[in-house]
Subunit: 274 residues, 2 copies
Amino acid sequence: MEIYKFAYQIIEEAGRIIRDSIDDELHIETKSNPNDLVTNIDKETEAFLTKQILNTYPHHRILGEEGQGRDIEDEAGTIWIIDPIDGTLNFVHQQENFAISIGIFIDGVKYAGFVYDVMNKKMYHCKVGNGAWMNETQLKPLKNSELKSSLISTNPIWLTKDKLADIYKLIIDDARSTRAYGSAALDFANVAKGITSAYLTMRLHPWDFAGGLILVEEVGGVVTNQLGEPLNILEANSILIGNKSIHDELLSQYFLPHTSLLKKIHTERFKKNK
Amino acid sequence: MEIYKFAYQIIEEAGRIIRDSIDDELHIETKSNPNDLVTNIDKETEAFLTKQILNTYPHHRILGEEGQGRDIEDEAGTIWIIDPIDGTLNFVHQQENFAISIGIFIDGVKYAGFVYDVMNKKMYHCKVGNGAWMNETQLKPLKNSELKSSLISTNPIWLTKDKLADIYKLIIDDARSTRAYGSAALDFANVAKGITSAYLTMRLHPWDFAGGLILVEEVGGVVTNQLGEPLNILEANSILIGNKSIHDELLSQYFLPHTSLLKKIHTERFKKNK
């Protein structure tokens, strides 16, 4: 079976398992801080996906949020980058508005991206070159838009950080309005679908953006870090995505004038993390 | 027919009409500023609801976002407070995530509240004393929670305003995480449903909060302005809602220490507006 179709099937199946257990009591642990949660369902979903993939493709490699493949340092072969539940806080508090995210790369080349909005049963999916889709509906190429007449999304927490707040304040003031949804993968899907025109955040891991990156590029969106550089798919990155026009505007008018500050933040935030 | 059942039916019907025309081209105008939009659908929906109500109840009064009843200055009789489309920016940009909101008051006493998530066909409704419901599912009484382990919602724009930013920064820093959904009525429904634990914003009109106010109180939530006072249903108000515990915490620890600043802002922002 084509890897793309196989991926689609196991993600749908993982989503069905999550929906079936959505009312069960969760076992919740904290990770890096009291608000960085992981549940038994995150772990079980990653284990399920890993088992399915390796049973069928024993030579594929997997990089997953819950521990798979942290030793991967090169892009050789087929790599699956997996977030079993993106938006764990939403999962825990809302029992909705979370996603399974998978990006598949072959020898470093983007192959396919998936973001599955589990509770709404909306699968955002694309095999590179064949268009991006929500279930059976093809997503349209992104229309260009200006910041002042666009909805954007970002986490308000960046406005509480010294120096960084100055950059984000200007953007939020100049945007038509700002949203915060709490799942990076769905934020990418929202940009791909045109629900928002841009999404920006200071730090995502590969599993947060790998699936969405491929979707957004497939509809003509631009995906870079906040210095305008391509994302390294094996490392944490800052994120700036949007239609071509708003991406240019945000990068040139709001981020590049602060290159030295952003470089410093990048160095400080990312040095200890893959 | 009972007013409550009648209201339910005409809101559902208005929602069906909106869904049927969701792909039609909109006529968009601006109101108070370039981001304050109104469409033909806002106006047509208010006209539809007004006609239905007055045909059946000629003596009822209506206060609506799009112009109905701006001369209402007392709470005598039965008053319908209507927002035909709450979250107009979402309606225009997303074609989803907006709501019809109606609160009904009889001689100033809360009678029934409705928030209809049109595209998801989720009707949040309650007749006071009979519980709050999402479609046929009764909403549970709100659980108490602390800010540090809660999701809250607010618009990030408040973090860009001098002085006010200092209050909002502390709250957002101390919350587990912050969301911004872009529809006040749905923000109230989300608190009633437990999707978020609190919602705060600097200024809503009666049509933005009338339906949600009744829903949130029905599940044991607390609804006040940011000075801890009850909302005046005929005037613009600042808003602080949540489960009892987080409302107490936000009010006593974050807002009341800034009473004089908030009073000044209230006076400046609300003096020219009903």
